[in-house]
Amino acid sequence: MTELIFFINQVVISGAVLGCIYALGAVGITLVFGILRFAHFAHSELMTSGAFFAFLLAGAFAAWGITAPIPMGFVVLPIAMVISAIFALGIDKGFYAPLRKRGAKPVTLLIASIGVTLMVQGLIRLFFGAGSYSFFETETKDVFRVDLSAFGSTRPLVITEPQLLMIVVTALSVIALHLFLTRSRLGKAMRAMADNADLAQVSGINTALVVRVTWIIAGALGCMAGTMLALDVTLKPDLAFNIIIPIFAAAIVGGLGQAYGAIAGGLLIGFAESLAVFNWTMVLRPLNAILPEWLQLPATLAFVPTEYKLTVAFVILVVTLLVRPTGIFKGASS
């Protein structure tokens, strides 16, 4: 029982948290791809800058003496999301829209987005340096320990308050996105444009408006994902840049252009990564008592050493592309 709880703490909870972050990031990438048909590399910077917006706001709120029962990062999240949405719109207007107007190819837009990545990251370093920051310098991170000794576990189930909130907030966002895409006029227009942009135009759909809404959603969800990541670990200028590969993998595995696919892909890769680096010795240690001397378990026994965690996303990506090139949910073939 102790071992099972350890497994849940290490794999299920951390996998879910990682999965939520990947899913929220991948949704933005997949929506932008569906509408504008290019791989938006700079999505990581929407996430990182979003986290910094939240960080600044949280600092300001704390300075004004505002306190809240939940971590400040979550309190300021809605405002940070609005700022990030505006920031995303600005980036589109400043860099991608002029290229689209000239009929630039998707690869040109991709390269432009790499430029945006470097630029935004440079700007963040300019203002914040290369160090890392924590949302929990002034407040404490509440940790819930569910005592399970009644079930014979010597270990409690451990989940931090931010982790619990992340899972709840992600679930709510996914439901909201689902309702938007299936119930609202604009959400349906977004699906229509991703399905057949020419016909959407012919139907009189305001495609410029759909593009704006796409950036608003991508910016807002990116900010949410970035802030959550910063709350879970620490905030630094290359916060999301480091995980752009698994996020892209999640979007492609789920089927590019498919919002639900991106969510499934994000969760899949999140769980797979935490399962891959899980130290099985912790669970299997009791076996040492019955195993012969020469077959004792090593101190760490994982599928993949932690430093190579990134390969997990690659492997899942390659296998998916080989077995089902359009991704789980049948997106655009890439």
Partner: protein, 234 residues
């Protein structure tokens, strides 16, 4: 006054012009049919009206207003609708959602229009929740037409609505077009089933190399031996 009038329209896709002076006039009660050989510029004419390519010369008047080079999101609310030749449904969306997209520019309640479309195409009512991509070619054509009718157009433009349909469906789709016209919607369509379509056309246009060759009522064109010989296969 003509519902739509093209006067000496010149236009193309950026290179040499494809249309070299096209003249078309349609009254509100008309069914206009454009026929002509492959590559004559028939689809290009409809696209030019709908702002999908650059018009460099001539005028396009819709309801007395020059609309040359206006984009669809301005034309649809004015009462113009277009069913393209191919890829004319949202395959991943349900039949009903396809219809809703046709009503995107409308701010009023469009349920009555939807009921009207379902009444015209009962099979679509049955399949309203099914993705349009799962329907047969004929049913998709109905979805495409239904989508275009959802904006309550004054002029419905159709590019080869009978393409790829079995003879039974061809007759059915033509009957529906006539019926839509009787309910007060002007029609301008391109057709390869030229004889069949001209038979019910109040205006016929034979296009070749981006220019009008012959203009008249449908039956007049069918009766013209020269048209019959060169364009209707004898």
């Amino acid at each position: 006054m003509a519902l739509i009038e093209l006067k000496h329209v010149v236009g193309g896709y950026g290179g040499a012009p494809i249309l070299n002076g096209v003249n078309i006039a349609i009254e509100p009660h008309d069914i206009g049919v454009i026929v002509g050989p492959n590559g004559a510029g028939k689809s290009t004419t409809l696209k030019a009206i709908f702002g999908l390519l650059k018009v460099t010369g001539g005028t396009i008047e819709f309801g007395g207003e020059n609309v040359a080079n206006s984009l669809p999101d301005r034309l649809v609310p004015k009462g113009l609708s277009f069913v393209p030749q191919e890829k004319n449904v949202f395959t991943s969306m349900s039949v009903e959602e396809n219809l809703e997209m046709g009503a995107f520019t409308r701010k009023d309640d469009f349920r009555a229009t939807m009921a009207w479309v379902y009444e015209m195409f009962p099979v679509l009512a049955e399949k309203r929740r099914q993705p349009a991509g799962e329907l047969s070619g004929g049913q998709r054509q109905m979805v495409a037409m239904g989508r275009a009718l959802m904006s309550k157009p004054r002029l419905l433009m159709l590019d080869e609505p009978s393409a790829g349909l079995s003879p039974r469906y061809v007759i059915e789709i033509f009957e529906t077009i006539v019926r839509v016209n009787k309910e007060g919607v002007g029609i301008l369509m391109v057709e390869q089933n030229a004889r069949q379509a001209l038979a019910f056309a109040s205006k016929g246009f034979v296009l070749a190399s981006g220019q009008n060759r012959f203009t008249g009522t449908g039956p007049e064109l069918i009766a013209d031996p020269e048209v019959a010989k060169s364009f209707l296969g004898g």
